[in-house]
């Protein structure tokens, strides 16, 4: 069915970031979107409302963001790949249900197109202020997968990856990008539909009588019961045993919550994505994501042209943070620079991972304008002079 849908879409086209997100979701097999429109994410909902009926999918505009997230979880528990899209204020509202999705291990995708905050902030201006919220927005100890595309093309591919990760690891996956990329219209080459890798969740297929809905396989991930397949199941946001029923027995809680956290830790290597540019001999290492990584790329190239050994670690997976590669790179780099469109969030994680002997500096901006490549270059030049 997928190739039939995709064949109508030319591979080379001018596409907006948010539209690319919608097309990526359809290609990944998303068949339900529930949302509440909010700038600068609304084009995702708009495009989904057009695309989903064409593939026998369902588009629901819900009464608010909270209900949207609930509908997405419900649809996924019913066996349908589902997604919602929002921005800052809406992302805040969704947090409780995102936590439910993590606890009950419900695959789904949440798109957050970042705008200036806090609160309703600056609806039409880009920001990267949700770095920590995307990791710790919901309460309690929990794992998280957050992907941060930096181009229109990558929004398409990472939306597909988000669905794949959510299906494989049974977790809500957040795709986090800024307004600048979301509203950018760029010339893209969509991949051949045949070449797109799609992962689907594991369904329970053993004997029904001994079935335990949260008993994991060796990979740490329990197969899901498809409603109607005859498996007795119980789903709750309460801390629950393999049976699905609640527990507050300390050793049981330790076991099941550790499994929840470890299922992502175990698969870090498969989840961590990043791109290195000029890093082999880099003295000054820039760590960035989203539109700021694009500005950093130019700054690094211009620094190189001026004889400064700068390099870029572009994060595609923001959480779990690609720790090992950063630690390898700072064995050589004498300075680390973290430009970000916020008052300093990503830098906290970078500082945590760097040895005390490696100074970490930021370039921070939260005025609604993207960071200019020259602002990053100026800081690189300043560090090179030290």
């Amino acid at each position: 069915m997928m190739s039939q849908i995709q064949s109508n879409i030319p591979q080379r086209q001018s596409l907006q970031g948010n539209q690319a997100c919608a097309l990526g979701a359809i290609a990944a097999g998303c068949r339900l979107f529930a949302g509440y429109p909010i700038t600068p994410s609304s084009e995702i909902a708009e495009r989904m409302s057009k695309e989903l009926p064409r593939v026998d999918g369902v588009f629901v505009q819900m009464e608010d963001e909270i209900a949207s997230m609930a509908a997405v979880l419900g649809a996924s528990m019913g066996g349908v790949k589902s997604m919602t899209a929002t921005s800052g204020p809406g992302f805040s509202l969704k947090q409780e249900h995102i936590g439910y999705g993590i606890q009950a291990e419900v695959p789904c995708v949440v798109i957050n197109v970042m705008r200036g905050g806090p609160s309703t902030g600056m609806p039409t201006r880009p920001a990267q202020g949700d770095v920590m919220q995307s990791r710790w927005g919901t309460h309690g100890d929990h794992p998280a997968i957050v992907l941060t595309p930096s181009s229109v093309q990558e929004i398409y591919t990472q939306t597909i990856t988000a669905f794949n990760f959510s299906e494989i690891y049974r977790i809500p996956v957040v795709v986090l990008y800024d307004e600048a990329i979301g509203h950018l219209v760029d010339t893209v080459d969509l991949p051949n539909p045949e070449s797109i890798k799609i992962n689907n969740r594991k369904w329970a297929d053993g004997p029904a009588e001994d079935y335990e809905p949260y008993a994991p396989d060796a990979d740490g991930i329990p197969p899901m019961p498809l409603p109607g397949d005859g498996y007795r199941t119980h789903t709750t946001g309460l801390t629950h045993l393999e049976s699905g029923f609640p527990t507050q027995v300390p050793e049981e809680v330790t076991r099941v919550t550790s499994r929840l956290l470890n299922k992502i830790e175990l698969h870090r290597d498969a989840i961590e994505q990043y791109e290195l540019s000029c890093c082999d001999d880099a003295d000054i290492l820039v760590v960035a994501f989203g539109i700021t990584a694009r500005a950093s790329e130019r700054a690094v190239n211009n620094a190189r042209a001026g004889g400064i050994k700068a390099g870029l670690l572009r994060l595609v997976t923001l959480w779990p943070f690609p720790e090992r590669i950063l630690q390898q790179l700072v064995e050589r780099a004498s300075h680390v620079l973290v430009p970000e469109m916020n008052a300093g969030q990503l830098i906290l994680e970078v500082e945590r991972l760097c040895p005390d002997s490696t100074p970490v500096s930021g370039v921070n901006k939260f005025d609604g304008d993207p960071i200019h490549p020259d602002e990053i270059l100026a800081k690189i030049e300043e560090l090179a002079d030290e």
């Binding site: 950018l184 219209v185 130019r298 211009n302």
Partner: protein, 184 residues
């Protein structure tokens, strides 16, 4: 660092600016479509205020042979200004020898610098065609007559493709009128 430094990918940058409601997003889309048809990569970005009318509005095109390293405008080679509210946003961003096109009535005091300013009666021409709202398309025609961006034929084809049928002729008349206005 010189703010006017070119992109590393050897392209050029166009800004269409004015106020909300002037159709700058649409004219940016028309020009982007024409340039894409010529095989170029075009990254188009917009900035606008939360209100749908009034306030600053701009549409930027970063045009490159391959995907741009940085897709947002940093040094303008072509600039259209249709309202004084959009004047300050391009301060320090206009490249040497850039083509700057302003509406002679709506922008009575155009920017000054080492670039070429063309003040033309764009809105007046639109009114003479029967609709002030085609000022954006008139200015597109004038811009391509002044700069080496794309052919009138390519732009006309893109406009025809993008415009709803009932407005197609009006836009085609507007782009040609703008082209002739600047070519004379």
């Amino acid at each position: 660092m010189n703010k006017k430094q070119k992109s590393n990918t050897g392209g050029y940058e166009i800004r269409l600016s004015g106020t909300g409601g002037q159709g700058l997003g649409l004219s940016g889309k028309m020009l982007a479509a024409a340039l894409s048809d010529e095989g170029l990569h075009v990254a188009q970005s917009q900035s606008y205020e939360p209100t749908s009318r009034g306030g600053m509005s701009r549409s930027d095109l970063v045009v490159t042979p391959q995907t741009a390293d940085y897709p947002l405008a940093t040094g303008l080679d072509y600039l259209v200004i249709l309202d004084t509210r959009a004047m300050s946003i391009s301060d320090g961003m206009i490249n040497t020898d850039a083509v700057v096109l302003v509406d002679e009535e709506l922008v009575p005091e155009p920017p000054k610098g080492d670039f070429k300013v063309h003040a033309l009666p764009l809105s007046k021409k639109a009114i003479s065609l029967g609709n002030l709202r085609v000022t954006n398309v008139v200015s597109l025609g004038a811009l391509i007559a002044l700069g080496d961006i794309c052919s009138l034929r390519t732009l006309e084809a893109a406009i025809e493709r993008i415009t709803p049928k009932k407005y197609a002729q009006m836009n085609l008349d507007a782009v040609r009128a703008g082209f002739e206005l600047a070519a004379h």
